[in-house]
């Protein structure tokens, strides 16, 4: 069974997020694994443990920092790592999805995992677009996957606490919201050991596709407005809140 996971590195928000020109100043930020991809790696490894096979992680190296998250994925149980040498920090989701789809095609995947979205651009389109390029079915918002033979049983979450269970013929693309079990811990010793020994396969980007959107401006949010703190006894405060809600037509 060939299991493929598309993973993305995004700027860490533990530090300041400096802006340079019309994008993040990529040279002065650290990069971390997109948190939904931690879920999809775990889900992929769980499927591998249940059915056998190999997990290949693949990502677009847009600024030469992808190795760190590929090593993390290998330490968490992936078997192979591939990076597409995109080297274009401004490549949009459409372009990245095309590059990923072209690279994944050659891996003859039985199942492809993607995180449901990345926390930097919140675009959420990579999974569906890969599926479209590969002509495979796609289900997103998934919270568990089980594979038996040629069929995957997939739980998808809907708003309002509803869920649905699908049986899908493989191959398919899954957008993972949460894995069946919480992501396992990759000890730093193991990550460092992997970093010294692992080989990462490099693939040149192939295929053109773009949403033809241009980023005009990026800026930190402007702090506006103010909070009014009500003071007084709890009864007085409650009365003031009720007045405020009424004045806004909310009560």
């Amino acid at each position: 069974m060939n299991i493929v996971v598309a993973i993305k590195h995004i700027p860490s928000i533990a530090d300041d997020l400096p802006v340079k020109g019309n994008n993040v100043d990529f040279d002065s930020v650290d990069f971390v694994l997109n948190e939904f991809d931690e879920q999809s790696i775990e889900q992929a490894v769980l499927v591998k443990e249940a059915t056998g096979g190999t997990v290949t992680v693949v990502g677009v190296d847009m600024i030469g920092e992808l190795d760190g998250v590929l090593h993390l994925a290998l330490a968490k149980g992936a078997d192979k790592a591939v990076k597409i040498t995109g080297d274009d920090p401004a490549a949009d989701s459409h372009q990245q999805a095309k590059w990923l789809a072209e690279a994944i095609k050659g891996m003859s995947p039985n199942i492809v995992f993607a995180g449901v979205q990345a926390s930097n651009d919140l675009d959420g389109q990579i999974g569906p677009m890969i599926a479209a390029h590969l002509d495979m079915p796609y289900i997103g918002g998934v919270s568990s996957v089980e594979v038996a033979g040629d069929t995957a049983t997939v739980n998808k979450e809907f708003a309002g606490g509803f869920g649905a269970k699908y049986a899908v013929s493989l191959p398919m693309v899954v957008g993972v919201q949460a894995s069946t079990k919480p992501p396992r811990y990759a000890p730093i010793s193991k990550v460092r050991q992997v970093a010294q020994t692992a080989t990462i396969e490099k693939v040149a980007p192939s295929g053109e596709s773009s949403a033809r959107l241009t980023m005009k401006k990026m800026a930190p949010p402007v702090v506006t407005g103010h909070a009014e703190m009500f003071t007084g006894s709890s009864k007085e405060v409650a009365a003031k809140i009720v007045d405020l809600l009424k004045s806004k037509g909310l009560a």
Partner: protein, 427 residues
């Protein structure tokens, strides 16, 4: 009066004569076939085979360690018992027992065979973590936070120096100062982020300023020392943080380093030297005790409280500092200092060491009460109304513990806060 037991009649079976002396003993069961219980040494060897954990096999079951083990006092634990459990079928690398030791070092203090839990635990835990075995979820979270954000609380690195705004004195950041300083003050994660830790850090800043000490902090460049993560088994994480911190420390010129916390002291004094960092470091109590003559005139206001002082394991047993904290407390006018029964070398662990700080709910499931609760009760039983501490892990632990044991009348304060109160009066 008839004897309660009839004396067993001895039967002489054999004679042994050595150098003309008959040394034959009475017949006893030693001469008969006995039922021998075979214990498999495999699970003991499994632990002792891990590099660093060899001394596990030294135990000869004398049990000196049991009455001093803080976990045994609220549960069923200690090196002797772990050895026995391993002998009777427990695989330490998979058992909950692997995570209960706080590395407090009280057992090593008394063990005739130098069974060293301070080395055994990190080694066995590391192996369990590397093998993907059970790791308490809370601990895993603290590891991940440390790796991602540079501190176990998961707070953003960019906010590490946010606390200095409200300290009431100028706190220079060494990068901005751009000149050598006498003292590099390593603040630590809890004093930088935890509200009660910030109280102690702010007090320290005011005391250093009042003493005219030429100090600076690292601000956003400071990262967690990660010593407790090391003791909890994450050596790789510790090494990563140590390399980063040592590079930062060496970027600047300073004469000595002062740390707020005993765990940082242990890291920089005893562990970082293995990675090439060899510079003078002291805990703030040791440092301030040197300034006692200048400090005393500043302590103008009476603080009329009865204080009992809790020895942090990593300041006391691990690093031998028992007197400086007491000297500082005794220097405060109005203070009456009383001792708990377990003090100094035999101080009772708060439960926060060795990763215990991040395994509170897990440990609680395997003990009758929290270690911090046991200690809070001991503190209350002295009649003290203040429990003084010198470790940033302890304020929040003990504040919860005095509440949960119905001892709210005992206030928990860092020594720094008490000195500051005496310096400035009640605020």
């Amino acid at each position: 009066m008839a004897a309660k037991f009839e004396k067993v009649k001895s039967v002489e079976k054999e004679h042994a004569i050595v150098d003309g002396v008959d040394i034959s003993g009475d017949w006893n069961r030693m001469f008969e076939q006995r039922v021998i219980t075979e214990y498999t040494p495999e699970l003991i060897e499994k632990v002792a085979d891990i590099p660093g954990a060899e001394s596990f096999a030294n135990c000869y079951q004398c049990a000196k360690c049991i009455p001093v083990c803080p976990v045994d006092i609220v549960g069923n634990y200690g090196p002797r018992k772990l050895y026995r459990y391993a002998q009777t079928g427990m695989d330490l690398t998979e058992a909950p027992e692997l995570w209960l030791c706080t590395t407090c070092k009280n057992c090593l203090r008394v063990c005739p065979k130098e069974v060293d839990m301070i080395k055994i635990m990190p080694a066995a835990r590391e192996q369990a973590i590397l093998a993907g075995k059970f790791v308490p979820a809370e601990l895993q979270q603290a590891f991940e936070n440390t790796a991602k954000t540079g501190n176990p609380l998961g707070q953003p690195q960019r906010k590490r120096d946010a606390w200095i705004q409200n300290a009431g004195v100028t706190i220079p950041i060494i990068k901005d100062l751009a000149r050598p300083v006498d003292v590099l003050w390593y603040v630590g994660s809890y004093p930088s982020y935890h509200p009660r830790g910030i109280d102690a850090a702010s007090a320290a800043a005011r005391i250093f300023s009042a003493l005219g000490i030429d100090f600076a902090i690292l601000g956003r460049e400071e990262k967690d020392d990660a010593d407790s993560q090391r003791l909890a088994g994450e050596k790789g994480l510790f090494e990563m943080m140590a390399e980063s911190n040592i590079a930062t420390f060496n970027n600047y010129e300073w004469k000595e380093m002062v740390v707020t916390g005993p765990h940082e002291l242990n890291a920089f004094k005893n562990e970082y030297p293995k990675y090439g960092f060899n510079r003078p470091v002291s805990h703030y109590t040791t440092f301030l005790a040197r300034y006692l003559d200048q400090l005393k005139p500043l302590l103008k206001h009476e603080v009329n409280v009865k204080i009992t002082y809790h020895d942090p394991c990593y300041l006391g047993r691990h690093n031998g500092e028992y007197e400086a904290p007491r000297k500082l407390l005794e220097a405060i006018p109005g203070v009456e200092l009383v001792e708990m029964q377990r003090n100094r070398e035999n101080g009772y662990c708060c439960g926060g060491g060795g990763g215990g700080m991040w395994m509170d709910s897990f440990t609680a499931k395997h003990t009758k009460m929290r270690l911090s609760e046991k200690r809070a009760m001991e503190a209350a039983s002295t009649g003290a109304n203040v429990l003084a501490v010198a470790c940033p892990f302890e304020v929040s632990r003990f504040e919860d513990a005095v509440k949960s044991t119905g001892n709210e009348h005992v206030t928990v304060n860092d020594i720094l806060e008490l000195l500051d109160r005496s310096m400035r009066g009640e605020q």
